[in-house]
């Protein structure tokens, strides 16, 4: 792929009075008046070629009495993201036009902004709460909304540091627990409304009809949140005609643990261990994206050796992520645990390396702004080399031989879960699933970060866009990751691994930044806003699992319910990141 040329269309000149350049210091992009949002967005998509929306998030500027929605869009032919914003006065009801008609991939992200900020997206087809439940009191991500265990706006909390006279949160909270109710609330007089009613109303209506003289009914099936093959606490509600899916909706929020709210209270550095707990398979990769965003604002250059270490750790986690996916997929398809045991065997060896370099198997907390926290010692380096050069290539071959040609497997996977390349782009699908649809989009090449431009590797592409191709594509990716690792291990030089001195507090200049990486599951982005204080003003995580699930309904309708399990497995969701 050639180096993409940055489009230099001046939107402010093109749409005078409707678009202005964002001139706030540290900010970039365009501010579009909300009345013209859809018109300008359509222009950006059709004329400028930004065919996919990647990130959409709201920011509450409490002091400016303004609610802002930020959009990041990219071209699937490569290049950096384009940022534009729409603003609305912070008076309820806050209304901003929906861009679902332009980019259908905005659907779930707009619902999230509605749920957490109370912004009504006019024209959204299905605007319901998504992470919290219907009936929850308030919009929790607003700056003036305080949780029951609220202590202070920003950490470090005075009760803990420096004196450390901490009282248990339960003794401080009004209701003695992590709950809050309005004054005068009476649970006995409270009339419960059915929280599921709105959900069922959005499904295609249940109907019964007479077919061939037999009375037939549609069936509503709930899968999850406790189900062995939903990969955690994901829930799907499907309307079935016999075995065929007529309509299906994802229901999430069962693992919504408020990363963003906690992240805004944390100091910049304190967020790094939290990023580990998003996609808990790839804690190494998660922190990378966050570090990139903050480094962009602080203008730090990462030392050479640290860049190599980042690539090594990142690609190792990509390999183990894909291995787990294979193992778990086969579990879901009924081959109980045997392939998973093969996958876990190799994963344990990779986790040994993580443990040796970072101290923890899963929650590595290893990346820092400007490098990594400590160097790889000789013994671990030797282990990595053994693994990458000697063991893994053969073992991947073995797993490939064991699984890929299996007749039952192929017949379960072939032609199932088709999603056209156009739909994939429209629904903001990123990562392996996009490349399996024939779109060679990989951020490592399209918008390079770190030192990925130094390595020789291919972006594998498959064209059938079914489950089998998605599976093969991931197998190809493992081989490419091994190629990158082998080059990185040969090229790595000695040197420092952290720019400057290790610090606990960081002064991040005022402004915004969007850092994006090609995580194993797709694009992982962090949108952070700093107001110059010790903690982020806004800390938004654009996770691949959450956005990729937008296309689930499109893939599942018309297939059998048993295939839904395989389709979901191939979307490769992880709940920590789906619900955040």
């Amino acid at each position: 792929m050639t180096t993409p040329v940055v489009e230099a269309i001046n939107l402010a000149e093109k749409f005078p009075g409707k678009v202005t350049a964002d001139a706030r210091p540290g900010y970039s992009g365009w501010i579009i008046s909300k009345e013209n949002l859809v018109e300008v967005a359509t222009f950006i998509r059709d004329e400028m070629g930004y065919d996919a929306l990647t990130n959409l998030c709201a920011i509450d500027y409490l002091e400016q009495k303004m609610m802002e929605v930020t959009y990041q869009v990219f071209k699937t032919t490569g290049g950096p993201v384009l940022t534009f914003k729409a603003q609305a006065e912070r008076v309820d009801p806050i209304e901003i036009p929906s861009v679902v008609s332009v980019w259908p991939g905005a659907e779930l992200q707009e619902r999230e902004a509605y749920d957490l900020y109370g912004i009504r997206f006019v024209g959204h087809p299905d605007l319901r709460r998504i992470l919290m439940w219907e009936g929850f009191d308030g919009y929790p991500m607003r700056r003036d909304w305080k949780e029951a265990f609220y202590e202070e706006d920003a950490k470090p909390l005075k009760s803990r540091w420096p004196e450390g006279k901490h009282k248990l949160a339960e003794t401080r909270a009004t209701f003695g627990d992590n709950v809050a109710f309005k004054p005068g609330f009476d649970p006995d007089k409270w009339i419960p409304s059915d929280p599921e009613e709105l959900l069922y109303a959005t499904l295609k209506n249940y109907k019964s009809e007479v077919k061939d003289g037999i009375k037939t009914d549609h069936v509503v099936v709930n899968m999850g949140p406790q189900h062995p093959s939903t990969h955690g606490v994901f829930r799907a509600v499907a309307v079935l005609d016999g075995e065929i899916v007529v309509s299906i909706k994802p229901v999430m929020g069962y693992l919504h643990r408020n990363h963003e709210k906690i992240g805004e209270r944390n100091t910049w550095l304190q967020n790094i261990p939290y990023t580990d707990r998003l996609d808990y398979f790839n804690s190494m990769y998660n922190a990378w994206s966050y570090a990139l965003a903050v480094e962009k604002m602080m203008g730090i250059t990462v030392p050479e050796r640290a860049e190599y270490i980042r690539v090594i750790m990142g690609e190792l986690s990509r390999i183990q992520n894909h291995l787990i996916l294979f193992g778990m997929l086969w579990n879901d398809l009924g081959s109980y645990f045997t392939p998973a045991l093969y996958a876990f065997e190799e994963r344990e060896l990779i986790l040994d390396i993580f443990e040796a370099v970072s101290g923890s198997r899963m929650m590595c907390n290893y990346y820092r702004f400007g490098g990594v926290v400590r160097d790889i010692d000789e013994a671990s380096m030797k282990k990595i080399k053994e693994l990458v050069f000697d063991r893994l290539p053969g073992k991947i071959e073995e797993i490939d031989r064991l699984l890929s040609e299996n007749e039952i497997f192929v017949s379960r996977m072939k032609g199932v879960g088709y999603l056209s390349p156009e739909d994939s782009i429209a629904y903001s699908v990123t990562g392996p699933n996009l490349r399996a649809a024939g779109v060679p989009y990989d951020i490592r090449r399209a918008d390079p970060y770190g030192i990925y431009d130094r390595f020789e590797f291919d972006i594998p592409v498959r064209h059938n866009s079914d489950l089998l191709d998605r599976y093969h594509l991931r197998m190809d990716e493992i081989h490419q990751s091994l190629r990158i690792l082998q080059q990185a291990l040969k090229q790595i030089t000695e040197g420092p691994v952290l720019a400057g001195k290790p610090q606990y507090t960081h002064r991040v200049p005022v402004g915004e930044a969007y850092g994006r990486v090609e995580a194993p599951k797709g694009e992982l982005g962090y949108y952070v806003v700093s107001n110059g204080k010790g903690n982020p003003y806004r800390y938004h995580i654009r996770t691949p699992s959450f956005v990729n699930i937008t296309s689930m309904e499109k893939m599942c309708v018309g297939t059998k319910i048993a295939d839904f399990v395989a389709i979901l497995g191939m979307v490769d969701i992880v709940l920590g990141e789906l619900d955040r």
Partner: protein
């Protein structure tokens, strides 16, 4: 279990029956059966669930201790391993699953979140520990606990089972202990039915305070 442990001392076995008859207490043989086949419920909440799977896999192999049969149905499970952050949205389902489990049943809180909220305790959608709702038998520290820690926790549970007596355990007694845990529900916030009187009193108090404040302003 060795012969010595199984045979309670003081009963002499006639010579012709030695090696054919063992004398023990009902508690011992009953606990031996239970502790050797603790079937966990297949039910992962968050990060800890991955370490739970790793503990089941080849390297750590929890099956060595008789607890490998993961059951997705609560009816077939003996032990609920709460592996991960408990959220307000999820807790009604968890309590319902617990109520559906047949007795004897045990709860193990795996990791910091399930034990007390962990790093996410301050979150608005997080329940600060499963013990706010269910009786926990063993807490396993860690974030997430390593598979070794999980196995150690399981062995602790086995030790606990060993010490129980049929005449003492709560599920064979008559009375309040066997009543189902009331299922919390989602209102404006999570409502625990056991705390309704307190919530009501506190909310009324707040309303009175607010009224007094507005009067003084006026």
């Amino acid at each position: 279990m060795s012969n010595n442990e199984l045979n309670s001392p003081g009963y002499e076995i006639p010579e012709e029956l030695e090696g054919k008859v063992a004398i023990t207490t009902l508690d011992k043989i009953y606990n031996f059966g239970r502790r050797s086949s603790v079937w966990p419920m297949m039910f992962g909440l968050a990060c800890c669930a991955i370490e739970m799977i790793a503990a089941q896999a080849a390297r750590y192999d929890m099956a060595r201790f008789g607890m490998e049969v993961m059951r997705p149905s609560p009816r077939q499970a003996d032990m609920m391993l709460v592996a991960g952050t408990v959220t307000k949205k999820m807790i009604p389902a968890i309590v319902r699953l617990y109520n559906q489990m047949a007795e004897p049943k045990y709860v193990v809180a795996m990791g910091a979140c399930a034990s007390g909220g962990g790093p996410f305790k301050e979150g608005y959608n997080v329940v600060a520990g499963i013990d706010k709702f269910l009786p926990v038998d063993v807490y396993i520290p860690g974030c997430p606990p390593t598979p070794q820690a999980l196995v150690a926790g399981m062995i602790k549970l086995q030790e606990k089972i060993d010490k129980q007596s049929i005449s003492q355990v709560r599920w064979y007694k008559k009375g309040a202990d066997t009543v189902e845990t009331p299922i919390p529900f989602l209102g404006p916030d999570l409502i625990d039915p056991r705390h309704i009187p307190e919530i009501k009193a506190k909310a009324a108090e707040l309303a009175a305070l607010a009224a007094a404040a507005s009067e003084t302003v006026a």
